[in-house]
Each structure stands twice: as C-alpha cells, then as structure tokens.
C-alpha cells in the first residue's frame, strides 16, 4: 500500500517535469546506443553494421520511449489533460456554437440549481444556524372530521413535554407582529413567542447576554424579558455593546433585553425573519384573546420537537398519539376528537413551507423538463458537429486510436460543456437565491424572507446533474462513432434529402422530445393560468370592490377591554361621518387572511351527532352591519345591531351550510345553538362565503356579535368608493384625534386580500410561465437548428426540384411541412404525457380539469405558431437555392 502510494506520488510529480525528463531519457538512451555501437566497432564491425546491430539489440527505440513514458507518468491523467486541452481548443474554434451550447446548459442547470437551493433553504433546512435540523419535526393538532391542522393549547403542550420519552425537546415558537418604535421611527416587526427552552433546544447561543431561563415561560406576564435579533441590534440599536440590561417597550410593556442572537439566525418560521423573542409568559401582551396559558380549550401555539437520535417519526408519533388519547379521555370537554400529529419540517402545516410545497414539487418536475430540453438542444448541436468532424474521427481511427479512446474524447468535450454550464448555472442560482421573495408582495411593509440555500448538498446535486448531462451529451456523438465505416471513410458524403428521414432520425427524435416536453409545460402553464383566473373571478361570497380592510393595534397600545370598546365605538362614529363612507364595522377575523378563526364544539337542540364525533364549527365575532358592509347577503332573518350587546340575549347568525347540516330543512330562526357552554338564539341565516381559502368547499360557519364576545384585536372594514390611499390619510387623522400613539395598519381593499391569499397559485403560474417560455424558446431553437441543417445539407436536392420546375411555394411547403410533421409528432407525444402528468398539479388547480381542452388547445396553438416561426427562415432559405450552382457543386 505504502509502496504503491509512493509510486503514485512519483508518477504524479513526473507529470510536472515532463519536458526535462524527456530530454534526460533521450540522453540516456542515446548514450546507451553509442556505447553499444562503440562495443560493436571494437569487435571489428563496419560503422554501418555496428549501428544496425546496436539498434537491433536495443529493440524499438520509439516504443521504448513510449513504454518508459507510460511507466513514468500517469497515462490516464495525461490523456485526459490532452483531451481537455483539445476540447477547449475545439470550443475556442467555434465560439458561436460554444456560447449557444453553454448558454443552453447554464439555463438548464441553473434552473435546477435554483430550485434545489429553494427546496433546501425553504423546505429541508429552513432555519439557518439551527443545529441538526434533520431531527426536528413540526407539531400540530388535528380535529376529527376536519382536514388540515389546528394549533395546540399550552396545557396540552406541557402534558406532552412531561409524558413523552423519545424526544430531546419540545419547544414552542409562535409568530406574532407588533409595532416597534425606537427613537422616532415606528415599524411593523415580526417576533416570536417561545417556550423558555427555545434557544437551548435549537442549539443557538446568543452572542451577547443569554437565552431564556427555565421558568421564564410560567406565570401571567411574569417575565418581561426579550432576546433580540442580530439585525435589530445592528440596525435599530446601532450595535450598542452595552445593550444587555437596557429596556424596550413592546405593546406598551417594558421588556428587558437579555440577549442578542448570532448573525444569520432568523428564527423558526418559514417566510418571515424574526426580530425578537419573548417567553410564553408574556403571551397576553402580544396575542388577542386574553390569558391562555391555563386554558386547555385555547389552541394557539405552534410547536416543534427534537427527536432523540435513532428515533423514527413513526415511533415518536405512536408515543404522541398515546398521550393525545389519554388527554382526550381525561379532558373530554376540550379534547374530544382531538389528535396531535408530527410533520416533517418540509410539510410544516402552519408556515409557508406548507403553502410552497406543492409549488416547489411541481417546479422540480418542470426544471427537469427544462434541463432535458436544453440537453436535447446541445445534443443536437453536438450531433451536427459530429457530422462535420466525421473526417477527423475517421483519421483518428485510421492512425490507431481505439474507439474507447475516441468515446473518451467525446465525453471529455461533453464534460467541458456541462461543467461550464454548471458553473454558470450555480451563478444563476446564486442570483436567484432571493428571487422567490420578489413574487410575494410585502405585507404591512415587511418583506418576506424566503432565501435559497446553496450548501454542499445543493452543490453535490448540481454536480450530479452536470454528470448526467455529460453522459446525455456524450452519448449521441459516441453512438455515431460506432457507425463510422473506415473503408468508406474518405469517400465524400453524399448530399442529404429534405424529404427523406434516414440518418437524421436521432436529431429528429431529439426535436420531437423537445417539442413534447415544452408542450407539457405549456399545458401546465395554461391550466394554472385558467385556474388562477377562475380563482380570481369566483365570487368569494363577499364584495371585493368598494370595501377596505385595516386595523388599529389596540393590543400593542395596551388598551384593556372596556377602553378598547369605547375606542371602537368612537372611531366608528367618526369614520361613518367621513364623506364617502357608506358603512363601517369591526370584526375579529378578516376573511382569507393568515390567522385562525375561533372555533367551538357546538350542541344543537334536536340534533344528535353521530357517536364519537364532536361537531366543531368555526365562527367570527362581528359588529353591527357586518353583512351589509362586506356585502354578504342574508337569506332570512336579521343581522346584528347595536342593540345586540352585553346586556341583551345572546344571538348568532349561521350560514346556509350550517343551517342545512344541523336543522335539516327546518327554519333555524329562533332555534338555539350552544357555544362554549352558552346558548345562543339564531336570528339570521347568511349566504355561504369563503372563509379561509378561496378554494375551500362550503363549510358550516356562524357569526356572533363582537360585543357579546369581545376581542381587542378586531379589524376595521369600511364600505366606500374611495381609494385605500385617500381613506388611509383620513383614517389616520381620525385615529390620531382619539389617541396620538396608535398605529394604523395597512389599508387595503378586500380584493387585495383575496389576491394575497392566492399568491401561491400566482407564484406557481409565474414560475411555470417563465420556465415554460424558456422551454418553448429552447425547443424552437432546436427545431430551427434541425431544419436549417437539413436545408443546408439538401441544396442539391432542392436545386434539382427547382430545375424540374418546383416553385418557391412548393419548396416553402416542403420544408414547412417537414418541420410541422416533427412538431405534430412532438405535440402528440406531449399530449399523451401531459394527460398523465397534469394530475400532479391537482392541489394547485381550482375548478379546472387536469384535462381541460382549452389548456391543451391553446398549448397546441402556441406550439404550432412557435414551430412555424422556427421553420420559416430555413424554408425561406430553401427557396433561395440557386439551382444552377447547387447542381454544379
């Protein structure tokens, strides 16, 4: 082993002193011959005979040198270096070809690397600086009979923590926002409510001060301490080295800054960068809905677990489920039908990982398509070159190169191209790292945080892509060398024929493949476009125009309930008095916004739920005139009025689906429903609308008066024809007239709210659109290349046809029909593939069949137009053939 390594080192060293060693060898062998000749002369031979004899004894002089050189250096490396040098020279010699090929590969590999980096940075390792993310799982609740997830309650969380053994840690991280004023600047900032073990559990150690200490997450408002982010420290606190121990007011409560996190740590929520963290004991300061740490029915936290090494998700889930079952039995009032589930990070249901997952999955398929198309393009270019280089290959074979050596040369050339393409691609990916954020609008002035991550895994995957590309690229010309017929080699090639298929089948096959792949992408883009249009034009069940949506942060400002109520009443009066305002109302939840409705187990007179099922329904707390302001029609009954307050009987308005499900055709007006232990009388039935997502199916839902179920964190809705900007300044004046310290949230139209809620579809459409366009362009280039090559190789045939009387029109038709035949083949194949694949778009499609004829039809039209454009120039060139010259040459 040691010996062979030593040999290897010596051989390696010899590579760098080749010229010198060659000279030495020459000297040595020459002196050997001289001595041999001398000896022969002394034996009495004639000079001629002496030399001949010496040479004969020596054996082949050049062969010896060749053997010696093979022994001295590393022939594998030397020939590879040779191939590399030769390949680079070939590329330099045809810069146009090289640039085109490298550009195609850069786009193909770059698209792959960019999507890899997004998937890595958003789904698989979303939290930079957090250690061992592969052990982390997301923790969320489930409710029987409902799809999706729910939040968890603090007591349930604490019970899990106490009773489970397979976990290193359970920790809470719940996103929240607040207005942060430092000096004279106020900004909306995102922060996190966390359990005290948070920083230890994720393995992030503050660079200044400390994390939270155990016990700091217990007690009502007991520990007003905060850890701030590096960015906040550097930006807003100007990197103050004495920051620890200073105080900062959050939501009117003075917090002591106890720590600063390291640079590059952004918290644990996919989509937003956290600026500060507070312990869970401060929950009431930041969350609407009061003190919830002791309320098992209040589900508000988002949590993660860290598995012990070697524990699988299934084992962990079993343990969790067992505890959840016990909780269900011990606390039936709050926990009946409730489960707890673990999710891999990339499926985390409560942050943007879940929203982006389907889009990124589809992108992965799309970029593979783009790569294949790019490879086919470059493969075609190489094929053309390999025809042009047939002579060179033949000569190489003739002077003794093995076919293996030839294939190696071709693969090396492929490797040079794909390595350059990969280098370019990684640059593209680096530039696109933050590209995803651009597709999402900033909300409330805070930009999203969705960085791609280019780590060694992404590099390795890209290298893998590069190697596969090389193999694909080298394959076609390598197969061609197998066909070289040495005997017939130097006979000049006969001209090709436009009409005939024959030899060109590989190239045609590649073009058909390109066309079919881009057709699939076009169909996908068409489906997404239609789906988005359907989503945007479907009525969500409330007016999207002429209704504005904003909020005043009373929780941040430290208002208690009575003061908040007084403020809301006064502000409503002022707003309604503004010119152009038709009506205005407060309500707790904005439809289609991020955040969760209140939900409750209900009981209904005369309705017997199936055993083992606890009907749970979501509801919204809304003010008087909510239905007229948002434009939700009432089917029967009345809406809430100012009279429905704390002093009068409890009332509720249900939607049509709920009425149909629980009263089965009876008129629910006057009937009773039990909500959180209180009976409410139903006074109205509202039409169904969309609550959480435009794509949801109708579900039971009801409304209760805000006054009878008060929340300080209510949003303000204003029906007015005025623009948000005009309204914002008027509103600001009115708010400040009441309290100069209050901040007003962004004023947006409800249409904007709907658009924001459909941004994942928009993002998917934009990305598939961009890449589909790219694919179409690449395929058109491929088609153009094949057709122009065919035309250039068939001048003799074209000339002959012209000489025999074919007009320009006939030739045009001949070439175009050949191009269109290829396109038709590609479209047919593509349609078959698309029929099988578009189902994968499922979760992103809304009211559009994956086999929608309109999408297929428009993809066909676009493809055909692109093909006609691509074929027209070669066809036109065909008509310019000079028959006399073509026949003479």
């Amino acid at each position: 082993m040691r010996e062979s390594f030593r040999t290897f080192l010596q051989r390696l060293a010899a590579l760098f002193r080749r010229r010198r060693l060659d000279d030495d060898l020459d000297d040595e062998l020459r002196s050997h011959l001289e001595m041999s000749i001398d000896l022969n002369l002394r034996k009495g031979m004639t000079p001629g005979a002496a030399r001949r004899e010496a040479l004969r004894n020596f054996g082949g002089f050049e062969q010896t040198k060749e053997l010696y050189r093979d022994q001295r250096g590393l022939p594998m490396i030397e020939t590879t270096l040779q191939d590399l040098r030769f390949g680079l020279r070939m590329l330099r010699r045809s810069p146009g070809f090289s640039a085109l090929a490298i550009l195609c590969l850069t786009l193909g590999i770059g698209a792959n690397a960019a999507v890899f980096s997004w998937i890595e940075g958003i789904l698989f390792r979303p939290y930079p600086a957090v250690t061992h993310q592969e052990q982390l799982l997301a923790l969320a609740g489930t409710a029987r009979g409902e799809s999706g997830h729910t939040a968890l309650s603090w007591p349930d969380f604490a019970d899990l923590q106490r009773n489970c053994t397979l976990f290193d840690a359970f920790f809470v991280s719940k996103i929240m926002g607040t207005t942060l004023s430092i000096g004279d600047r106020a900004e909306v900032t995102t922060g996190s409510i966390v359990s005290a073990n948070y920083f230890d559990a994720i393995g992030v150690h503050p660079i200044l001060g400390r994390g939270f200490e155990s016990g700091e997450d217990v007690g009502r408002n007991a520990h007003p301490v905060t850890v701030i982010s590096y960015q906040l420290w550097k930006g807003r606190f100007k990197g103050d080295p004495q920051i620890i121990g200073k105080t900062q007011r959050f939501n009117n409560v003075v917090h002591t800054i106890v720590g600063v996190t390291p640079e590059g740590f952004y918290g644990t929520f996919v989509g937003w960068a956290m600026q500060f963290w507070v312990p869970a004991s401060m929950e009431e300061t930041f969350e609407s809905g009061g003190y919830k740490l002791e309320d098992r029915g209040a589900r508000w936290i988002e949590a993660y677990v860290r598995l012990k090494p070697g524990v699988t998700r299934q084992q962990a889930q079993q343990e969790i489920s067992a505890v959840a079952k016990r909780l269900e039995a011990d606390y039936p009032d709050t926990n009946r039908g409730r489960g707890i589930m673990l999710w891999p990070l990339w499926q985390t249901p409560f942050n943007n990982a879940g929203t982006l997952l389907p889009t990124l999955e589809i992108m992965l398929a799309v970029v593979v398509f783009v790569l294949l198309i790019a490879c086919a393009n470059v493969g075609n270019l190489l094929l053309v070159k390999s025809f042009a280089r047939r002579h060179e290959m033949t000569v190489r074979l003739a002077i003794g190169a093995g076919r293996g050596r030839l294939v190696k040369q071709l693969f090396t050339e492929g490797l040079i191209l794909s390595a350059l393409g990969a280098a370019g691609g990684l640059l593209v990916a680096h530039w696109c790292r933050h590209g995803l954020v651009l597709l999402f609008p900033a909300r409330g002035g805070v930009a999203m945080h969705l960085p791609g991550e280019i780590d060694w895994r992404v590099l390795a995957l890209s290298a893998g892509v590069c190697i596969i590309t090389t193999l694909l690229l080298g394959l076609v010309p390598a197969l061609q060398t197998g066909k070289i017929d040495l005997a017939g080699a130097l006979k000049s090639d006969s001209a090709g024929v436009v009409g005939g298929g024959g030899r060109a089948w590989v190239r045609s096959g590649l073009v058909v493949m390109q066309v079919s792949l881009s057709f699939v992408l076009l169909v996908g883009a068409g489906l997404l476009m239609q789906s988005l249009q359907k989503i945007r034009t479907t009525s969500p069940g409330f007016s999207t125009h002429g209704v504005l949506d904003t909020a005043v942060n009373l929780v941040s400002a430290g208002y208690d309930a009575p003061r908040a109520q007084a403020f809301q009443d006064e502000l409503l009066d002022r707003v309604k008095a503004l010119p152009g305002v038709e009506s205005a109302v407060f309500a707790r939840m904005t439809p289609l916004s991020y955040g969760s409705y209140s939900s409750t187990a209900i009981a209904v007179d005369g309705y017997q739920p199936p055993p083992e099922e606890q009907p749970i329904v979501e509801y919204n707390e809304v003010g008087p005139d909510y239905f007229t302001t948002l434009g939700i029609p009432l089917v029967t009954g009345r809406q809430f009025t100012r009279a429905d307050d704390e002093k009068t009987a409890l009332v509720a308005v249900v939607n049509e689906t709920m009425a149909a499900q629980y009263w089965r055709g009876r008129n629910p007006i006057g009937e009773r429903v039990q909500v959180k232990g209180r009976w409410m009388q139903i006074v109205g039935v509202a039409k169904d609308s969309k609550y959480q997502s435009v794509r949801e199916t109708p579900k039971p839902f009801f409304y209760v008066p805000l006054r009878q179920n008060f929340s300080r964190g209510a949003g303000l809705y204003i029906r007015t024809p005025l623009s948000p900007e005009t309204m914002a300044s008027a509103l600001m004046r009115e708010v400040h007239a009441l309290d100069g310290n209050l901040a007003l949230f962004e004023v947006i139209t409800l249409q904007e709210q709907v658009d924001r809620s459909t941004s994942p579809q928009m993002v998917a459409l934009t990305l598939v659109g961009i890449l589909g366009g790219l694919a179409l362009l690449l395929a058109a280039i491929g088609l153009y290349g094949v057709m122009s090559y065919t035309v250039s190789q068939s001048t003799r045939e074209l000339g002959l046809r012209m000489a025999l009387g074919a007009g320009a029109c006939n030739l045009l038709r001949l070439v175009l029909s050949r191009g269109l035949a290829l396109t038709a083949g590609g479209v047919a194949l593509g349609a078959a593939v698309a029929l099988g694949l578009t189902r994968l778009l499922g979760s992103l499609l809304y009211k559009v069949s994956p086999r929608d004829p309109l999408a297929f039809g428009s993809a066909f039209v676009v493809m055909t137009i692109a093909a006609l454009v691509a074929c027209f120039l070669p066809a036109w060139r065909a008509t310019r053939t000079d028959p006399a010259r073509a026949l003479r040459d």
């Binding site: 000297d27 040595e28 002196s31 062969q63 053997l67 010696y68 093979d70 022994q71």
Partner: protein, 81 residues
C-alpha cells in the same frame, strides 16, 4: 494490460537486474544489459530497451536509486539500496 505470461517474464527480468546490481555494485543501463546477456550466455534474447522502463519501475518502488555520471563513460549508474 500485461498478460500473465509477460508478468512472468517481467518478474524474471526484475530478479536478473536486482541480482546483477547486488553482485556488481553501481552500474549504468548498458552495463546491466551487457552483464545479463553475458551471464545468460547469450541465451536470453533481451531487447535492451525493455530494461529502461523496468529500471524506472524499480526506482519508483524505492528498490534502487540512480544518479547521473559523466556523459561519455557512465550515462547512468544504478545501485541496490
């Protein structure tokens, strides 16, 4: 790819070279070739050229060392370690 047969020949050549150097002390390539031909009584028809890759191989493995002598008389001297 050396065939088994050539490996046997190579092994024999290696032994002859090493034996020669062990008994005769430092020698140059031509000297070694001459000596091998003499002791085999001209029975072994050795292509003298094949000696050089073999000497290089021995050197790479550290079995022998080499140095340059003056041009005319000893082009290269070899010795066992």
């Amino acid at each position: 790819m050396p065939s088994p047969k050539s490996e046997v020949l190579q092994g024999t050549l290696d032994l002859l070279v090493l034996k020669t150097l062990a008994t005769m002390g430092p020698m140059h390539g031509f000297g070694i070739a001459l000596r091998i031909q003499q002791i085999s009584k001209d029975l072994l028809q050795l292509n003298q050229g094949t000696l050089y890759p073999a000497l290089l191989r021995h050197e790479q493995r550290g079995w022998i060392t080499s140095k340059w002598g003056s041009r005319r008389t000893t082009a290269r001297r070899s010795s066992t370690p």
